[in-house]
Symmetry: C2
Protein backbone atom coordinates (compact mmCIF):
# COMPACT_ATOMS: atom_id res chain seq x y z
CA UNK A 1 0.00 0.00 0.00
CA UNK A 2 1.27 3.47 -0.88
CA UNK A 3 1.66 5.91 1.97
CA UNK A 4 -1.00 8.18 0.47
CA UNK A 5 -3.62 5.44 0.68
CA UNK A 6 -2.85 4.81 4.33
CA UNK A 7 -3.03 8.53 5.09
CA UNK A 8 -6.34 8.76 3.23
CA UNK A 9 -7.83 5.95 5.36
CA UNK A 10 -6.63 7.66 8.52
CA UNK A 11 -8.22 10.98 7.56
CA UNK A 12 -11.43 9.39 6.37
CA UNK A 13 -11.91 7.32 9.53
CA UNK A 14 -10.36 9.90 11.90
CA UNK A 15 -8.54 6.97 13.40
CA UNK A 16 -5.04 5.55 13.79
CA UNK A 17 -6.30 2.32 15.29
CA UNK A 18 -4.51 -0.92 14.45
CA UNK A 19 -6.23 -4.07 15.68
CA UNK A 20 -3.84 -6.85 16.68
CA UNK A 21 -5.00 -10.31 15.70
CA UNK A 22 -2.87 -12.20 18.23
CA UNK A 23 -5.49 -14.88 18.31
CA UNK A 24 -4.77 -17.52 20.91
CA UNK A 25 -6.84 -20.69 20.47
CA UNK A 26 -7.17 -21.00 24.26
CA UNK A 27 -8.57 -17.50 24.68
CA UNK A 28 -11.39 -17.41 22.16
CA UNK A 29 -14.96 -17.91 23.37
CA UNK A 30 -15.82 -21.45 24.43
CA UNK A 31 -18.34 -22.09 21.64
CA UNK A 32 -15.60 -21.41 19.06
CA UNK A 33 -12.96 -23.48 20.83
CA UNK A 34 -15.07 -26.52 20.00
CA UNK A 35 -15.27 -25.59 16.30
CA UNK A 36 -12.46 -26.81 14.01
CA UNK A 37 -12.71 -23.48 12.16
CA UNK A 38 -13.01 -21.55 15.40
CA UNK A 39 -9.99 -19.30 15.01
CA UNK A 40 -10.84 -18.28 11.47
CA UNK A 41 -14.47 -17.64 12.40
CA UNK A 42 -13.27 -15.59 15.37
CA UNK A 43 -10.90 -13.51 13.21
CA UNK A 44 -13.55 -12.89 10.55
CA UNK A 45 -16.06 -11.79 13.17
CA UNK A 46 -13.49 -9.45 14.74
CA UNK A 47 -12.63 -7.95 11.34
CA UNK A 48 -16.32 -7.43 10.47
CA UNK A 49 -16.91 -5.82 13.86
CA UNK A 50 -13.94 -3.45 13.82
CA UNK A 51 -13.23 -2.56 10.18
CA UNK A 52 -15.10 0.75 10.34
CA UNK A 53 -12.74 1.97 13.07
CA UNK A 54 -9.43 0.30 12.17
CA UNK A 55 -6.96 1.57 9.59
CA UNK A 56 -4.64 -1.42 10.05
CA UNK A 57 -4.65 -5.04 11.17
CA UNK A 58 -1.54 -6.62 12.69
CA UNK A 59 -1.28 -10.39 12.60
CA UNK A 60 1.11 -11.86 15.17
CA UNK A 61 2.47 -14.71 13.08
CA UNK A 62 3.85 -16.71 16.03
CA UNK A 63 0.39 -17.78 17.14
CA UNK A 64 -0.28 -19.18 13.66
CA UNK A 65 3.17 -20.67 13.10
CA UNK A 66 2.91 -22.70 16.32
CA UNK A 67 -0.06 -24.55 14.79
CA UNK A 68 1.98 -25.66 11.81
CA UNK A 69 0.44 -25.86 8.35
CA UNK A 70 -3.11 -25.40 9.62
CA UNK A 71 -2.00 -22.14 11.21
CA UNK A 72 -0.54 -20.82 7.97
CA UNK A 73 -3.81 -21.69 6.22
CA UNK A 74 -5.82 -19.78 8.83
CA UNK A 75 -3.41 -16.84 8.55
CA UNK A 76 -3.76 -16.77 4.78
CA UNK A 77 -7.56 -16.84 4.95
CA UNK A 78 -7.59 -14.17 7.64
CA UNK A 79 -5.32 -11.94 5.58
CA UNK A 80 -7.49 -12.43 2.48
CA UNK A 81 -10.57 -11.43 4.50
CA UNK A 82 -9.17 -8.02 5.48
CA UNK A 83 -10.61 -5.30 3.20
CA UNK A 84 -8.09 -4.14 0.58
CA UNK A 85 -8.09 -0.53 1.70
CA UNK A 86 -6.92 -1.43 5.22
CA UNK A 87 -3.17 -1.67 5.88
CA UNK A 88 -1.87 -5.11 6.90
CA UNK A 89 1.11 -5.93 9.10
CA UNK A 90 2.83 -9.29 9.47
CA UNK A 91 4.17 -9.01 13.00
CA UNK A 92 6.87 -11.59 12.38
CA UNK A 93 9.98 -9.76 13.65
CA UNK A 94 12.26 -11.38 11.09
CA UNK A 95 15.93 -10.45 10.90
CA UNK A 96 18.48 -12.12 8.67
CA UNK A 97 20.82 -11.01 5.93
CA UNK A 98 21.04 -10.71 2.18
CA UNK A 99 19.40 -13.55 0.27
CA UNK A 100 17.78 -14.85 3.42
CA UNK A 101 16.20 -11.47 4.15
CA UNK A 102 14.91 -11.44 0.59
CA UNK A 103 13.30 -14.84 1.20
CA UNK A 104 11.51 -13.41 4.23
CA UNK A 105 10.40 -10.41 2.16
CA UNK A 106 9.01 -12.80 -0.46
CA UNK A 107 7.25 -14.74 2.33
CA UNK A 108 5.42 -11.71 3.71
CA UNK A 109 5.07 -9.51 0.62
CA UNK A 110 4.28 -12.11 -2.04
CA UNK A 111 3.51 -15.63 -0.74
CA UNK A 112 1.35 -13.96 1.92
CA UNK A 113 0.59 -10.52 0.45
CA UNK A 114 0.90 -8.26 3.48
CA UNK A 115 1.67 -4.55 3.12
CA UNK A 116 4.39 -4.68 5.75
CA UNK A 117 6.44 -6.87 8.06
CA UNK A 118 8.14 -6.14 11.39
CA UNK A 119 11.93 -6.49 11.25
CA UNK A 120 14.67 -6.72 13.92
CA UNK A 121 17.66 -4.39 13.43
CA UNK A 122 20.46 -6.24 15.27
CA UNK A 123 22.20 -7.56 12.13
CA UNK A 124 22.37 -4.12 10.48
CA UNK A 125 21.90 -2.68 7.00
CA UNK A 126 21.98 -5.88 4.98
CA UNK A 127 19.24 -7.32 7.18
CA UNK A 128 16.84 -4.40 6.59
CA UNK A 129 17.56 -3.09 3.10
CA UNK A 130 16.30 -6.19 1.23
CA UNK A 131 12.80 -5.42 2.56
CA UNK A 132 12.98 -1.88 1.14
CA UNK A 133 13.36 -3.10 -2.45
CA UNK A 134 9.68 -4.04 -2.82
CA UNK A 135 7.39 -1.33 -4.18
CA UNK A 136 4.64 -0.12 -1.85
CA UNK A 137 5.78 -2.56 0.83
CA UNK A 138 7.11 -1.57 4.25
CA UNK A 139 9.66 -2.65 6.80
CA UNK A 140 8.54 -1.81 10.34
CA UNK A 141 11.79 -1.89 12.28
CA UNK A 142 12.01 -2.44 16.03
CA UNK A 143 13.15 0.76 17.68
CA UNK A 144 12.07 0.96 21.30
CA UNK A 145 9.85 -1.81 22.55
CA UNK A 146 7.49 -1.69 25.53
CA UNK A 147 8.58 -4.86 27.36
CA UNK A 148 10.82 -4.93 30.47
CA UNK A 149 13.64 -6.47 28.40
CA UNK A 150 13.88 -3.26 26.35
CA UNK A 151 16.11 -2.04 29.19
CA UNK A 152 18.69 -4.77 28.55
CA UNK A 153 20.07 -3.51 25.24
CA UNK A 154 17.86 -0.85 23.63
CA UNK A 155 18.37 1.51 26.56
CA UNK A 156 22.14 0.98 26.83
CA UNK A 157 24.07 4.24 26.67
CA UNK A 158 26.59 4.40 23.85
CA UNK A 159 29.97 6.08 23.92
CA UNK A 160 28.35 9.34 22.72
CA UNK A 161 25.78 9.18 25.59
CA UNK A 162 22.87 8.46 23.27
CA UNK A 163 20.87 5.27 23.79
CA UNK A 164 21.22 2.35 21.43
CA UNK A 165 17.57 2.68 20.31
CA UNK A 166 18.18 6.32 19.35
CA UNK A 167 21.11 5.24 17.19
CA UNK A 168 18.93 2.55 15.63
CA UNK A 169 16.30 5.16 14.70
CA UNK A 170 18.92 7.50 13.21
CA UNK A 171 20.80 4.86 11.28
CA UNK A 172 17.88 2.80 10.02
CA UNK A 173 15.93 5.88 8.93
CA UNK A 174 18.85 6.80 6.65
CA UNK A 175 18.51 3.52 4.71
CA UNK A 176 15.00 4.06 3.41
CA UNK A 177 12.33 6.70 3.14
CA UNK A 178 9.16 7.65 4.96
CA UNK A 179 7.39 5.70 2.21
CA UNK A 180 8.91 2.30 3.04
CA UNK A 181 10.11 2.42 6.64
CA UNK A 182 8.20 2.62 9.91
CA UNK A 183 9.37 2.00 13.47
CA UNK A 184 7.96 0.09 16.41
CA UNK A 185 7.96 2.54 19.31
CA UNK A 186 6.54 1.09 22.49
CA UNK A 187 6.60 4.43 24.21
CA UNK A 188 3.56 5.94 25.78
CA UNK A 189 5.14 8.65 27.92
CA UNK A 190 5.12 12.23 26.61
CA UNK A 191 8.87 12.81 27.02
CA UNK A 192 9.79 9.58 25.23
CA UNK A 193 7.48 10.34 22.32
CA UNK A 194 8.79 13.90 22.02
CA UNK A 195 12.34 12.56 21.92
CA UNK A 196 11.47 10.04 19.20
CA UNK A 197 9.79 12.74 17.14
CA UNK A 198 12.97 14.85 17.34
CA UNK A 199 14.91 12.02 15.67
CA UNK A 200 12.28 10.86 13.17
CA UNK A 201 9.72 13.65 12.78
CA UNK A 202 7.93 12.21 9.75
CA UNK A 203 8.14 8.42 9.93
CA UNK A 204 5.13 6.35 10.78
CA UNK A 205 5.37 4.79 14.25
CA UNK A 206 3.67 1.55 15.21
CA UNK A 207 2.83 2.04 18.88
CA UNK A 208 1.86 -0.89 21.09
CA UNK A 209 1.36 -0.61 24.82
CA UNK A 210 -1.96 1.23 24.88
CA UNK A 211 -4.90 -0.26 26.75
CA UNK A 212 -4.05 -3.51 28.56
CA UNK A 213 -0.43 -2.38 28.81
CA UNK A 214 -1.23 0.96 30.43
CA UNK A 215 -0.62 3.76 27.92
CA UNK A 216 -3.36 6.18 27.01
CA UNK A 217 -4.49 7.25 23.58
CA UNK A 218 -4.67 10.99 24.28
CA UNK A 219 -1.04 11.28 25.42
CA UNK A 220 0.18 9.32 22.42
CA UNK A 221 -1.88 11.34 19.94
CA UNK A 222 -0.88 14.63 21.51
CA UNK A 223 2.85 13.93 21.25
CA UNK A 224 3.29 11.69 18.23
CA UNK A 225 0.52 12.48 15.72
CA UNK A 226 1.62 14.35 12.60
CA UNK A 227 -0.27 16.06 9.77
CA UNK A 228 -0.42 12.70 7.97
CA UNK A 229 -1.44 10.79 11.05
CA UNK A 230 2.01 9.28 11.27
CA UNK A 231 1.18 6.70 13.91
CA UNK A 232 -0.63 3.41 14.19
CA UNK A 233 -1.76 2.65 17.73
CA UNK A 234 -2.04 -1.09 18.16
CA UNK A 235 -4.57 -2.63 20.52
CA UNK A 236 -4.85 -6.39 20.67
CA UNK A 237 -6.29 -7.89 23.85
CA UNK A 238 -8.28 -4.75 24.71
CA UNK A 239 -10.37 -5.31 21.59
CA UNK A 240 -10.27 -8.95 20.52
CA UNK A 241 -10.86 -10.28 24.03
CA UNK A 242 -13.20 -7.46 25.14
CA UNK A 243 -15.84 -10.16 25.47
CA UNK A 244 -15.48 -13.90 26.04
CA UNK A 245 -19.05 -14.94 25.35
CA UNK A 246 -21.14 -15.35 22.19
CA UNK A 247 -21.42 -11.56 21.92
CA UNK A 248 -17.61 -11.14 21.68
CA UNK A 249 -17.85 -9.43 18.28
CA UNK A 250 -20.26 -6.83 19.55
CA UNK A 251 -17.97 -6.20 22.52
CA UNK A 252 -15.01 -5.86 20.15
CA UNK A 253 -17.02 -3.42 18.03
CA UNK A 254 -17.74 -1.29 21.07
CA UNK A 255 -14.12 -1.34 22.23
CA UNK A 256 -12.79 -0.39 18.79
CA UNK A 257 -15.36 2.39 18.55
CA UNK A 258 -14.30 3.68 21.96
CA UNK A 259 -10.67 3.84 20.88
CA UNK A 260 -11.60 5.62 17.64
CA UNK A 261 -13.63 8.14 19.58
CA UNK A 262 -10.65 8.90 21.79
CA UNK A 263 -8.63 9.59 18.62
CA UNK A 264 -11.27 11.67 16.80
CA UNK A 265 -10.69 15.00 18.65
CA UNK A 266 -7.12 15.06 17.32
CA UNK A 267 -8.29 15.27 13.69
Amino acid sequence: MHRNELVAQIKKKKSVLCVGLDTDARKIPQHLQNDPNGILLFNKAIIDATKDFAVAYKINTAFYEAMGIKGWEIMQETLAYIPNDIFTIADAKRGDIGNTATQYAITFFETYPYDSVTVAPYMGADSVQPFLAFENKWAIVLGLTSNPGSQDFQMLPLEDQSYLYERVLKTVSSWGTIENTMFVIGATRADQLQNVRKIIPNHFLLIPGVGAQGGDVATVCEHALTEDGGILINVSRGIIYAGDQEDFASKAHDAAKMYQQEMQPFF
Copy 2:
Protein backbone atom coordinates in the same frame (compact mmCIF):
# COMPACT_ATOMS: atom_id res chain seq x y z
CA MET B 1 19.30 -33.07 22.76
CA HIS B 2 21.30 -33.04 25.98
CA ARG B 3 24.72 -31.39 25.82
CA ASN B 4 26.40 -34.72 26.63
CA GLU B 5 24.94 -36.36 23.53
CA LEU B 6 26.19 -33.55 21.31
CA VAL B 7 29.65 -33.75 22.87
CA ALA B 8 29.66 -37.54 22.39
CA GLN B 9 28.89 -37.15 18.68
CA ILE B 10 31.67 -34.60 18.32
CA LYS B 11 34.22 -36.87 19.96
CA LYS B 12 33.09 -39.94 18.07
CA LYS B 13 33.23 -38.24 14.67
CA LYS B 14 36.20 -35.98 15.50
CA SER B 15 34.17 -33.25 13.87
CA VAL B 16 32.39 -30.01 14.70
CA LEU B 17 30.88 -29.73 11.23
CA CYS B 18 27.38 -28.32 10.85
CA VAL B 19 25.91 -28.61 7.36
CA GLY B 20 23.63 -25.72 6.43
CA LEU B 21 20.57 -26.75 4.43
CA ASP B 22 19.88 -23.32 2.93
CA THR B 23 18.38 -25.04 -0.06
CA ASP B 24 17.47 -22.60 -2.82
CA ALA B 25 15.18 -24.12 -5.46
CA ARG B 26 17.03 -22.17 -8.17
CA LYS B 27 20.44 -23.53 -7.18
CA ILE B 28 19.85 -27.27 -7.05
CA PRO B 29 20.98 -29.40 -10.02
CA GLN B 30 18.89 -29.01 -13.16
CA HIS B 31 17.50 -32.56 -13.14
CA LEU B 32 16.00 -31.90 -9.68
CA GLN B 33 14.63 -28.47 -10.55
CA ASN B 34 12.22 -30.24 -12.92
CA ASP B 35 11.05 -32.64 -10.20
CA PRO B 36 8.15 -31.53 -7.97
CA ASN B 37 9.91 -33.23 -5.05
CA GLY B 38 13.29 -31.90 -6.11
CA ILE B 39 14.16 -29.96 -2.96
CA LEU B 40 13.30 -32.83 -0.63
CA LEU B 41 15.21 -35.32 -2.79
CA PHE B 42 18.16 -32.92 -2.81
CA ASN B 43 18.10 -32.52 0.99
CA LYS B 44 17.83 -36.28 1.59
CA ALA B 45 20.74 -36.96 -0.76
CA ILE B 46 22.85 -34.30 0.98
CA ILE B 47 22.03 -35.75 4.41
CA ASP B 48 22.88 -39.28 3.29
CA ALA B 49 26.14 -38.06 1.79
CA THR B 50 27.31 -35.98 4.76
CA LYS B 51 25.90 -37.62 7.90
CA ASP B 52 29.13 -39.49 8.70
CA PHE B 53 30.99 -36.18 8.97
CA ALA B 54 28.35 -33.80 10.33
CA VAL B 55 27.39 -33.43 14.00
CA ALA B 56 24.65 -30.90 13.23
CA TYR B 57 22.33 -29.76 10.46
CA LYS B 58 21.10 -26.18 10.26
CA ILE B 59 17.94 -25.50 8.30
CA ASN B 60 17.54 -21.91 7.14
CA THR B 61 13.78 -21.60 7.53
CA ALA B 62 13.42 -18.54 5.29
CA PHE B 63 13.99 -20.56 2.14
CA TYR B 64 11.16 -22.91 3.14
CA GLU B 65 8.81 -20.23 4.49
CA ALA B 66 8.96 -18.34 1.20
CA MET B 67 7.36 -21.36 -0.51
CA GLY B 68 4.36 -21.27 1.80
CA ILE B 69 2.74 -24.47 3.01
CA LYS B 70 4.66 -26.68 0.58
CA GLY B 71 7.88 -25.30 2.04
CA TRP B 72 6.85 -26.16 5.60
CA GLU B 73 6.02 -29.69 4.44
CA ILE B 74 9.45 -30.07 2.84
CA MET B 75 11.09 -28.68 5.98
CA GLN B 76 9.20 -31.14 8.18
CA GLU B 77 10.17 -34.11 6.01
CA THR B 78 13.78 -32.95 5.84
CA LEU B 79 13.92 -32.59 9.62
CA ALA B 80 12.40 -36.04 10.11
CA TYR B 81 15.04 -37.52 7.78
CA ILE B 82 17.97 -36.28 9.87
CA PRO B 83 19.32 -39.11 12.07
CA ASN B 84 18.23 -38.74 15.71
CA ASP B 85 21.76 -38.57 17.07
CA ILE B 86 22.62 -35.49 15.01
CA PHE B 87 21.86 -32.04 16.47
CA THR B 88 19.31 -29.95 14.57
CA ILE B 89 19.10 -26.17 14.31
CA ALA B 90 16.15 -24.12 13.07
CA ASP B 91 17.94 -21.05 11.77
CA ALA B 92 14.87 -18.88 12.12
CA LYS B 93 16.26 -15.89 14.03
CA ARG B 94 13.03 -15.28 15.90
CA GLY B 95 12.77 -12.57 18.52
CA ASP B 96 9.60 -11.56 20.31
CA ILE B 97 8.45 -11.35 23.89
CA GLY B 98 6.65 -13.37 26.54
CA ASN B 99 3.74 -15.41 25.22
CA THR B 100 4.76 -14.75 21.65
CA ALA B 101 8.28 -16.06 22.27
CA THR B 102 6.71 -19.15 23.82
CA GLN B 103 4.67 -19.64 20.65
CA TYR B 104 7.90 -19.55 18.62
CA ALA B 105 9.49 -22.03 21.02
CA ILE B 106 6.49 -24.34 20.54
CA THR B 107 6.85 -23.90 16.75
CA PHE B 108 10.48 -24.99 16.64
CA PHE B 109 10.69 -27.33 19.64
CA GLU B 110 7.35 -29.15 19.39
CA THR B 111 5.41 -28.56 16.16
CA TYR B 112 8.70 -29.01 14.31
CA PRO B 113 10.88 -30.93 16.78
CA TYR B 114 14.25 -29.25 16.37
CA ASP B 115 16.87 -29.32 19.11
CA SER B 116 17.51 -25.60 18.85
CA VAL B 117 16.47 -22.32 17.27
CA THR B 118 18.42 -19.15 16.53
CA VAL B 119 17.14 -16.12 18.45
CA ALA B 120 17.71 -12.35 18.11
CA PRO B 121 18.61 -10.53 21.34
CA TYR B 122 17.42 -6.95 20.64
CA MET B 123 14.24 -7.17 22.76
CA GLY B 124 16.09 -8.42 25.85
CA ALA B 125 15.52 -11.00 28.58
CA ASP B 126 11.83 -11.65 28.06
CA SER B 127 12.51 -12.43 24.40
CA VAL B 128 15.14 -15.10 25.16
CA GLN B 129 14.15 -16.67 28.48
CA PRO B 130 10.96 -18.35 27.18
CA PHE B 131 13.16 -20.52 24.92
CA LEU B 132 15.20 -21.66 27.92
CA ALA B 133 12.22 -23.24 29.65
CA PHE B 134 12.15 -26.32 27.39
CA GLU B 135 14.17 -29.32 28.55
CA ASN B 136 17.08 -30.37 26.33
CA LYS B 137 16.27 -27.57 23.88
CA TRP B 138 18.57 -24.70 23.05
CA ALA B 139 18.43 -21.00 22.19
CA ILE B 140 21.27 -20.01 19.88
CA VAL B 141 21.44 -16.25 20.36
CA LEU B 142 22.96 -13.85 17.83
CA GLY B 143 26.17 -12.41 19.27
CA LEU B 144 28.52 -11.25 16.54
CA THR B 145 27.48 -11.96 12.97
CA SER B 146 29.75 -12.18 9.93
CA ASN B 147 27.92 -9.83 7.57
CA PRO B 148 28.96 -6.23 6.77
CA GLY B 149 25.93 -4.91 8.71
CA SER B 150 27.37 -6.33 11.95
CA GLN B 151 29.32 -3.05 12.07
CA ASP B 152 26.14 -0.98 12.28
CA PHE B 153 25.06 -1.92 15.80
CA GLN B 154 26.89 -5.00 17.15
CA MET B 155 30.24 -3.20 16.95
CA LEU B 156 29.02 0.06 18.49
CA PRO B 157 31.12 1.09 21.49
CA LEU B 158 29.13 1.50 24.68
CA GLU B 159 29.69 4.05 27.41
CA ASP B 160 32.09 1.63 29.17
CA GLN B 161 34.11 1.20 25.92
CA SER B 162 33.01 -2.40 25.38
CA TYR B 163 31.20 -3.27 22.17
CA LEU B 164 27.47 -3.97 22.14
CA TYR B 165 28.03 -7.61 21.09
CA GLU B 166 30.32 -8.13 24.10
CA ARG B 167 27.57 -6.87 26.39
CA VAL B 168 25.09 -9.15 24.64
CA LEU B 169 27.35 -12.16 25.32
CA LYS B 170 27.81 -11.21 28.97
CA THR B 171 24.18 -10.43 29.67
CA VAL B 172 22.55 -13.25 27.71
CA SER B 173 24.93 -15.87 29.11
CA SER B 174 23.74 -14.93 32.61
CA TRP B 175 20.14 -15.87 31.75
CA GLY B 176 20.73 -19.54 31.02
CA THR B 177 23.39 -22.20 31.26
CA ILE B 178 25.89 -23.85 28.96
CA GLU B 179 23.29 -26.59 28.61
CA ASN B 180 20.61 -24.45 26.97
CA THR B 181 22.33 -21.41 25.44
CA MET B 182 24.71 -21.11 22.49
CA PHE B 183 25.83 -18.05 20.56
CA VAL B 184 26.21 -17.24 16.88
CA ILE B 185 29.74 -15.92 16.49
CA GLY B 186 30.60 -15.04 12.91
CA ALA B 187 34.23 -14.47 13.79
CA THR B 188 37.04 -16.26 12.07
CA ARG B 189 39.99 -14.11 13.15
CA ALA B 190 42.18 -15.36 16.00
CA ASP B 191 41.96 -12.17 18.07
CA GLN B 192 38.16 -12.02 17.82
CA LEU B 193 37.78 -15.64 18.84
CA GLN B 194 40.17 -15.23 21.76
CA ASN B 195 38.16 -12.24 22.94
CA VAL B 196 34.88 -14.14 22.71
CA ARG B 197 36.36 -17.05 24.66
CA LYS B 198 37.40 -14.63 27.44
CA ILE B 199 33.75 -13.64 27.89
CA ILE B 200 32.13 -17.05 27.38
CA PRO B 201 34.80 -19.73 27.84
CA ASN B 202 32.45 -22.72 27.94
CA HIS B 203 29.43 -21.92 25.78
CA PHE B 204 28.95 -23.61 22.46
CA LEU B 205 29.49 -21.22 19.54
CA LEU B 206 27.80 -21.60 16.17
CA ILE B 207 30.36 -20.26 13.73
CA PRO B 208 29.42 -19.38 10.15
CA GLY B 209 31.78 -17.70 7.72
CA VAL B 210 34.10 -20.61 6.98
CA GLY B 211 34.64 -21.72 3.38
CA ALA B 212 32.77 -19.57 0.84
CA GLN B 213 32.91 -16.64 3.28
CA GLY B 214 36.68 -16.81 3.76
CA GLY B 215 37.45 -18.11 7.26
CA ASP B 216 39.59 -21.19 7.73
CA VAL B 217 38.89 -24.21 9.88
CA ALA B 218 42.32 -24.46 11.50
CA THR B 219 42.30 -20.91 12.89
CA VAL B 220 38.79 -21.36 14.28
CA CYS B 221 39.60 -24.72 15.89
CA GLU B 222 42.85 -23.46 17.33
CA HIS B 223 41.26 -20.50 19.08
CA ALA B 224 37.71 -21.56 19.90
CA LEU B 225 37.68 -25.33 20.44
CA THR B 226 37.23 -26.48 24.04
CA GLU B 227 37.56 -29.85 25.75
CA ASP B 228 33.93 -30.55 24.88
CA GLY B 229 34.30 -29.37 21.32
CA GLY B 230 32.36 -26.24 22.16
CA ILE B 231 31.87 -25.07 18.60
CA LEU B 232 29.81 -25.92 15.57
CA ILE B 233 31.36 -24.70 12.34
CA ASN B 234 28.64 -24.18 9.77
CA VAL B 235 29.27 -24.67 6.08
CA SER B 236 26.37 -24.31 3.67
CA ARG B 237 27.24 -23.46 0.05
CA GLY B 238 30.71 -25.00 0.26
CA ILE B 239 29.10 -28.40 0.77
CA ILE B 240 25.55 -28.44 -0.60
CA TYR B 241 26.51 -26.72 -3.85
CA ALA B 242 29.95 -28.36 -4.18
CA GLY B 243 28.59 -29.95 -7.34
CA ASP B 244 25.80 -28.84 -9.65
CA GLN B 245 25.45 -31.98 -11.73
CA GLU B 246 23.93 -35.42 -11.12
CA ASP B 247 26.92 -36.31 -8.92
CA PHE B 248 26.20 -33.41 -6.50
CA ALA B 249 25.82 -35.79 -3.54
CA SER B 250 29.20 -37.38 -4.14
CA LYS B 251 30.74 -33.89 -4.39
CA ALA B 252 29.01 -32.91 -1.14
CA HIS B 253 30.34 -36.08 0.50
CA ASP B 254 33.89 -35.21 -0.55
CA ALA B 255 33.57 -31.61 0.63
CA ALA B 256 32.16 -32.63 4.03
CA LYS B 257 34.92 -35.22 4.41
CA MET B 258 37.54 -32.59 3.59
CA TYR B 259 36.19 -30.27 6.31
CA GLN B 260 36.12 -33.13 8.83
CA GLN B 261 39.71 -34.00 7.99
CA GLU B 262 40.75 -30.41 8.64
CA MET B 263 39.12 -30.70 12.08
CA GLN B 264 40.48 -34.16 12.99
CA PRO B 265 44.02 -33.09 14.06
CA PHE B 266 42.49 -30.97 16.84
CA PHE B 267 41.00 -34.01 18.58
